[in-house]
């Protein structure tokens, strides 16, 4: 099995595999986010306390939960890259970082735009908000470290260690609303018990969460392919692609 798996660590094969997977991820992402957002904006019932302002939930919660999931994905890829020296895993981690940073920014911004009408303030320095801000800085740190070394093997190692150490922040974000008193509400969607939300509101939310996941997957594949090309500029198959692109 290891031999079979290792063959996918070959740059050309992983480049082609990513290309084959891309349309599936992209189509699913567009369809799910389209359905989820339309359903949430037009058909989900109004919240009896928050009115229509609660509709921000359909981007805020998907962005926030996926910002953590993307981080775990990035840290896992970094771990694989560090332990088994698989370069393709390092490239995948480097591809996820900028996407995760944008998603985290969206989670923070939509949270602020929701906090202003509901809490009366754009920002408070409480545990949930602060730890999510730390997540944004972790992403930016990984991006900066990876960019600051000319030798990308070294760069991936430095950025990978930061990414792995930063995993400690993920449970802090997740449980911050239970461990400390916060303006932020605790989790609404529960896996083990019944969610404290009616189905009409919940289904579009779940669809959008899944849609954001697919979108992050699609963008990761796009950036991964470009990263593979950038790191393999000396290989004949990449040179052929470069010549074809320049001739266009």
């Amino acid at each position: 099995m290891w031999k079979w798996l290792n063959s996918y660590a070959d740059p050309e094969r992983s480049y082609n595999l990513a290309g084959k997977m891309l349309p599936w991820f992209a189509c699913l992402a567009i369809a799910l986010i389209g359905v989820g957002t339309t359903w949430g904006m037009l058909y989900a019932p109004m919240d009896y306390q928050q009115g229509d302002s609660f509709r921000i939930i359909y981007i805020h919660v998907p962005a926030a939960s996926m910002s953590m999931a993307a981080y775990m994905g990035m840290a896992t890829a970094s771990f694989i890259g560090l332990v088994w020296q698989i370069k393709a895993a390092d490239w995948a981690a480097a591809s996820i970082a900028p996407i995760g940073a944008v998603i985290t920014f969206i989670a923070l911004f939509t949270g602020a735009a929701w906090g202003k009408p509901m809490w009366g303030t754009w920002w408070v320095w409480d545990a949930r908000l602060t730890s999510e801000l730390v997540l944004l800085f972790l992403y930016l740190g990984v991006i900066a470290l990876y960019a600051s070394f000319e030798d990308k093997v070294l760069a991936a190692r430095a950025a990978g260690i930061l990414a792995i150490v930063g995993v400690i922040n993920i449970p802090i974000i997740k449980y911050s609303v239970e461990w400390w008193s916060s303006l932020h509400q605790p989790a609404t969607i529960k896996i083990t018990e019944k969610s404290t939300m009616t189905g009409d509101m919940l289904y579009p939310l779940l669809i959008n969460i899944f849609g954001f996941g697919m979108m992050i997957g699609a963008l990761t594949l796009v950036r991964f392919r470009a990263e593979v090309l950038a790191r393999n500029g000396m290989r004949p198959w990449v040179r052929e692609l470069a010549k074809a692109e320049a001739a266009k």
Partner: protein, 66 residues
């Protein structure tokens, strides 16, 4: 449908500014990210092709000297 008219939809029960600000910034930043990501491959390949041309020129000038 939760809204009686298009105007009511745009008004978002009085929360228009906050809701549309959130959605606008979200899809705006996602749009920038998507366009940047899609353009990356072309930028990388152009960079590599420039390098190839440089190398070939270097090889040529070396060949002329000897």
């Amino acid at each position: 449908m939760q809204f009686d008219s298009f105007a009511a939809f745009l008004d978002m029960g009085g929360y228009a500014f906050f809701v549309w600000l959130a959605y606008g910034v979200t899809f705006g930043s996602l749009g920038i990210l998507i366009i940047h990501s899609l353009g990356q491959k072309r930028r990388v390949l152009i960079e590599i092709s420039k390098k190839i041309i440089r190398e070939e020129r270097l090889k040529e000038s070396r060949g002329n000297k000897s």
